[in-house]
């Protein structure tokens, strides 16, 4: 597939700005900025050698360039790893440009925390620069089943311009259970989880700074979305909470967040939702009725509640009916 012209222009444009950035460590304390298509992407310094780009709490749209999830960057003495590629090539290339201002080290790994478009639509930009794409062992299968649908439905949602060059590119380095990546001077510990937010959730722990990149296993302030297993998510929350992190970069919400306090509201929401759905099922209420009221006491406590709560309730009902 020919690389789209817009993308080439962006890549070369950013390559120029990256030249001045070879004097790296001085930049480590500062935020790096990159702008694309009128949206400014601010990559902030979270810990020593750890950076994150915070997404906005919105649905993906042409206006936000698909940049709704949090992306991470970890800089070692040999190589850089990026956590999630963002919701468009424009966002991915802006992130690469910002990384170029921070370090001259090559981006060796792109780690996808799971299958959702806001985390993987930028993958082509990383394949282009030769990064190894890393993911949960279930991620290729999940993308097989959904890729065509994502490409179609997001074209409707965010428009042709932002979809330009977006390809579904699966990981080639798969994580069965755990995997360590050596970036030089620091190890990243990757961990594959059982079905929770999706059936292909992966977390990344930087042992040097004890920073946890939780992907969408952790939502802060923005309503968690359920596309895997409610029971699996609740069951694994204890194990998640025992990770000895000093801070977390959640998949959505403020960067960084306190750990493990970042889990508290999410756990409460899912417990409320499970309680309401279980009661509806016991009462013999059909799914179509139950989802209208389940979780209602959480309204007002979350951004995007009305966008996602009923969908979560639908998935929860179909799952909990089998208890």
């Amino acid at each position: 597939m020919p690389i789209d012209r817009v993308r080439r222009k962006l890549v070369s444009g950013f390559a120029c700005t990256a030249v001045s950035a070879a004097m790296l460590p001085c930049c480590l304390g500062r935020a790096a900025l990159a702008a694309a298509g009128g949206v400014e992407f601010k990559v902030r310094n979270v810990a020593d050698g750890v950076f994150a780009l915070q997404g906005v709490d919105e649905l993906m749209s042409a206006a936000n360039q698909g940049a709704i999830s949090n992306l991470g960057v970890v800089v070692g003495t040999d190589a850089v790893a990026v956590i999630d590629s963002g919701g468009s090539l424009i966002e991915a290339n802006a992130l690469l440009a910002a990384i170029g201002k921070i370090t001259a080290m090559p981006v060796r790994y792109l780690i996808n925390t799971h299958m959702h478009p806001d985390h993987i639509f930028g993958n082509a930009a990383f394949q282009e620069i030769g990064a190894t794409i890393v993911g949960h062992h279930n991620l290729p299968r999940a993308l097989e089943a959904r890729g065509a649908f994502y490409l179609q439905s997001f074209r409707q949602q965010i428009g042709d311009a932002l979809m330009k060059g977006v390809e579904i590119i699966p990981p080639t380095l798969l994580v069965d259970d755990r995997l360590q990546l050596d970036l030089g001077g620091r190890m990243l510990e990757l961990r594959a989880w059982k079905a929770a937010h999706t059936d292909n959730d992966l977390t990344v722990f930087d042992s040097a700074t004890r920073t946890l990149f939780a992907g969408d296993l952790v939502f802060v302030g923005s309503l968690p979305t359920l596309d895997g297993s409610l029971l699996g998510w609740l069951r694994q929350m204890d194990a998640l909470a025992t990770i000895g992190a000093a801070r977390v970069v959640p998949g959505h919400g403020p960067v960084p967040a306190d750990w493990p306090e970042a889990l508290t509201a999410e756990r409460r929401y899912f417990e409320v939702l499970a309680r309401d759905i279980r009661k509806a099922i016991a009462d013999g209420m059909p799914l179509s009725e139950a989802v209208k009221t389940a979780g209602a006491s959480e309204r007002g406590k979350w951004r995007l509640f009305d966008e996602y709560n009923e969908r979560n309730a639908t998935a929860a009902f179909a799952e909990l009916e089998w208890e």
Partner: protein, 287 residues
């Protein structure tokens, strides 16, 4: 070329003739894997139906909104993989009852979601299930009366987008539990009638296939429950053929009139030829 290979595989299915015709019709409109990028509208959904109905019902007349059949679904479906749909039959308007109901989802790659045969004197007036919907679409219920009339009701569902793809959420779990069944029996609402409600649940990934793998361009193999029969005391209540767009873990809730105290029996057959059977005693229903 891929289309070709796909069609010959579909032809191996018992319902191949119907499917093949429908897939051909839809295929020419869509180029399959949703090459139609513009969002479907009521008008475009209707155009698909106009092209499709001859393949399914020939040139038979279809009465629209006569009141014999009614269909309900959320105006905006939250999860494209699990869209609840309710079909109601008004027995007062069709004294001899209904023979079958065909559920159509215009924009799905195989629009005939399922056909339900209703047992004579089974007293089924309400059937609810859950379906996958690929895009904005009309959902249609076409009921055939014992006398051979066709009656249609329709409702437009905005089901698309976001990351709620019409796919299996937890594939490992789906495969590990395949074939498990659960039956819930709800007692009659009014004590004097023998009408009660059943809810049958079957664990099955119910993959519709029909999505092209974006990585290999091959179609993902379909694997779904394509035949289902539910009876009580050896009298058929409800059976289903097709089922390609029924959601993961097929779920059917319906009312019926029990005959005696005979047990409820279920048999399901999937596209791999696997047979799943189960039976349950009829719970005392205020006899």
């Amino acid at each position: 070329m891929q289309n070709h290979a796909y069609r010959s595989r579909q032809l191996a299915l018992p319902l191949a003739a119907v499917f093949a015709a429908i897939i051909l019709a839809a295929g020419t409109l869509f180029g399959f894997a949703g090459a139609a990028n513009a969002q479907q509208t009521t008008a475009s959904s209707d155009r698909i139906w106009q092209d499709l109905k001859g393949d399914v019902f020939g040139d038979r007349a279809i009465l629209v909104d006569s009141g014999v059949v009614r269909i309900e679904a959320p105006k905006r479906a939250q999860d494209a993989a699990i869209v609840p749909v309710d079909i109601y039959i008004d027995l007062a308007k069709t004294p001899d009852g209904i023979k079958s109901v065909t559920l159509i989802i215009d924009v799905n790659p195989a629009p005939v979601a399922a056909t339900f045969q209703i047992g004579k004197d089974a007293g089924v007036t309400h059937l609810s299930t859950r379906v996958r919907v690929n895009d904005y679409s009309y959902l249609r219920a076409i009921a055939e009366t014992q006398g051979g009339e066709l009656h249609m009701a329709q409702t437009f569902v905005k089901a698309s987008g976001g990351c709620s793809a019409p796919a299996v959420k937890n594939q490992d779990e789906a495969m590990a539990t395949m074939g498990q069944m659960k039956l819930r029996q709800f007692p009659p609402q009014e004590t004097m009638t023998k009408v009660q409600e059943l809810q049958l649940m079957i664990r099955h990934p119910n993959n519709s296939g029909l999505q092209r793998n974006p990585l290999t361009q091959y179609f993902i193999p379909a694997h779904f429950v394509q035949k289902l029969s539910i009876s009580q005391a050896d009298r058929p209540i409800l059976s289903m053929e097709g089922g390609i767009s029924i959601s993961e873990d097929p779920n059917f809730r319906f009312d019926f009139k029990a005959h005696g105290n005979g047990e409820i029996q279920v048999e399901a057959i999937d596209t791999d030829g696997k047979v799943f059977r189960n039976q349950w005693p009829l719970e005392a229903a205020g006899l």
